[in-house]
């Protein structure tokens, strides 16, 4: 417990378990309509998350092997609550980049594209297809980033 000032407490919670809880300097978040970054003292905010990467910057080096003091998680769908000193991420699904199964994500992408073609007039089917595609693309992208 060196200095507590200007540190955000970041928590990443999934339906199955609490994945991550740590102090950090900044967090990048994939909101539904684009990425944004949160620093200490941010105004209270509530946002829906899309598919993408949560990147936690700074603090201590969390684990062995993490480079450049950042930890990256691929999340898909959820919510985030930002308070001046606390960020809580509720994600439906969260993975570490190295945990991503690329062939499976590619399959998912194909499935999404197929759904998209078959969606036709139905708006629901269309949105669903877009969901699947976005999730798969985000997974592939974040897996590629790591390599």
């Amino acid at each position: 417990m060196a200095e507590q000032t200007n540190q955000l407490r970041v928590r990443l919670v999934t339906p199955e378990r609490t994945l991550f809880e740590h102090e950090a300097v900044a967090v990048e978040l994939p909101a539904k309509n684009g990425y944004f970054e949160v620093l200490y003292g941010h105004a209270p905010l509530m946002a829906e998350l899309g598919a993408g990467d949560v990147i936690v910057h700074g603090g201590e080096a969390f684990e062995a092997g993490s480079t450049a003091n950042e930890t990256r998680y691929n999340v898909s769908w959820g919510f985030v609550e930002v308070l001046p000193d606390r960020v809580t991420i509720l994600a439906s699904d969260a993975l570490k980049p190295e945990e991503i199964d690329v062939p499976r994500a590619e399959q998912q992408l194909d499935r999404g594209l197929k759904m998209w073609k078959e969606a036709g007039e139905s708006e629901d089917a269309f949105t669903q297809a877009l969901h699947v595609i976005a999730e798969a693309e985000a997974k592939i992208a974040s897996a590629a980033e790591k390599r």
Binding site: T14, P15, T18, P44, M46, L90, G120
Partner: protein, 361 residues
């Protein structure tokens, strides 16, 4: 009268059975411990979703000020004519009265609502098997409709109801490996049925499991959403004191903590999520937030019911197997006593024969 050899054989067989039941008990205890941990791990998320939704409903009127429409179709209440019943049972037997009790409660619900049409969604193999045998599966007929322009054909799925109670779906194996994605898919399916007015309410029957000594069978109303964060329990069945003592005894002998783990602090922390006394900037309009949050909320309620049911199933199996082990021990004792008596009788008889033979000389 059985001879010594026969009795010895029976004792050996009962000993083997006891070994099996003892092993099953230990396995169930280990699985119970894991299921409890998983239920614990799932709590923060469920609590947070609940509290954020609850605070959102408090801050934002659920009616749109301008149009007067409800902000989400799941808040709409309709007279209950068609009801969905989700039955969460176990996948396997050997769990005492666990599955029987759940099915009994489900049948009570069905016979108590004869004026309504009931759809059944069976989770767990035992409930699927029973419900399939009793009630017909729902029949859907596909219709291809062509609109005026003539080229945009789309298939419409229509359903012909033949019986008052029908099984619309089952999910065997869902409990074996509980995955949030599958539960979420089920939740979305239920929500879409509600939105499309195929059902007017959804109930779930499951075994609530707070800890080994505090569990009960409940019928909970899932939809429509009335009060966020307060479970709408319409029927509950507490176990008898005797049953509770049995469970506690079994848990103690298997080394399982019987008191619930104290989570008050973590719960309090989770409850604060999204409820801080500040004005939030809502990134999306509240309709969108509702549309995103509510399926998650429903899914987390389902997930919660399923994790607890799994834990309860293992607890029930552990108790049943503990009783079986005890019964086997009693039986071995009785048989051993009997065997010794028979042996003694045989020896006495032989001595009498020898003595009387000697006397006759």
């Amino acid at each position: 009268m059985a001879n010594v050899l026969d009795l010895r054989r029976r004792i050996r067989s009962v000993k083997n059975t006891r070994q099996i039941t003892k092993a099953m008990k230990m396995v169930s205890a280990a699985k119970l411990r894991r299921a409890q941990e998983r239920a614990m791990a799932a709590r923060p998320y469920a609590k947070m979703i609940t509290s954020v939704l609850e605070s959102l409903t408090r801050r934002v009127d659920i009616f749109d000020e301008e149009t007067g429409n409800l902000r989400h179709p799941l808040f709409v209440t309709r007279p209950e004519k068609r009801v969905l019943l989700i039955i969460v049972s176990g996948d396997k037997g050997f769990a005492g009265a666990f599955n029987a009790n759940i099915l009994k409660t489900a049948f009570q619900f069905i016979s108590g609502n004869t004026d309504k049409e009931i759809d059944i969604e069976a989770v767990g193999r035992k409930s699927r098997d029973t419900m399939r045998r009793r009630y017909p599966a729902a029949v859907y007929s596909e219709q291809t409709e062509t609109d005026q322009i003539g080229n945009n054909a789309h298939t419409l799925k229509t359903r012909e109801r033949k019986a008052q109670v029908e099984v619309t779906g089952d999910h065997p194996g869902m409990l074996l490996k509980l995955e949030n994605s599958r539960v979420f898919a089920l939740a979305e399916n239920i929500i879409s049925r509600y939105v499309h007015e195929e059902i007017d309410a959804a109930y779930i029957v499951y075994n609530e499991f707070k800890s080994v000594i505090s569990q009960r069978l409940v019928v909970e109303k899932l939809l429509p959403l009335m009060k966020i964060g307060i479970p709408q329990i319409t029927g509950a069945q507490e176990p008898t004191t005797e049953e509770r003592e049995r469970v506690a005894e079994a848990a103690l002998s298997a080394g399982i903590e019987i008191e619930p783990v104290d989570t008050a602090e973590a719960d309090e922390e989770a409850r604060k999520f999204g409820t801080a006394n500040v004005d939030y900037i809502y990134e999306q309009p509240s309709e969108e937030l509702f549309a995103g949050l509510i399926p998650q909320y429903v899914s987390s309620m389902l997930y919660h019911a399923m994790t607890e049911s799994v834990a309860a199933e293992h607890a029930a199996r552990m108790t049943a197997m503990d009783s079986a082990t005890n019964n086997a021990s009693d039986m071995i004792d009785a048989l051993t006593l009997h065997m010794n008596r028979v042996r003694q009788a045989a020896i006495t008889k032989e001595i009498i024969e020898i003595v009387s033979g000697a006397a006759a000389l």
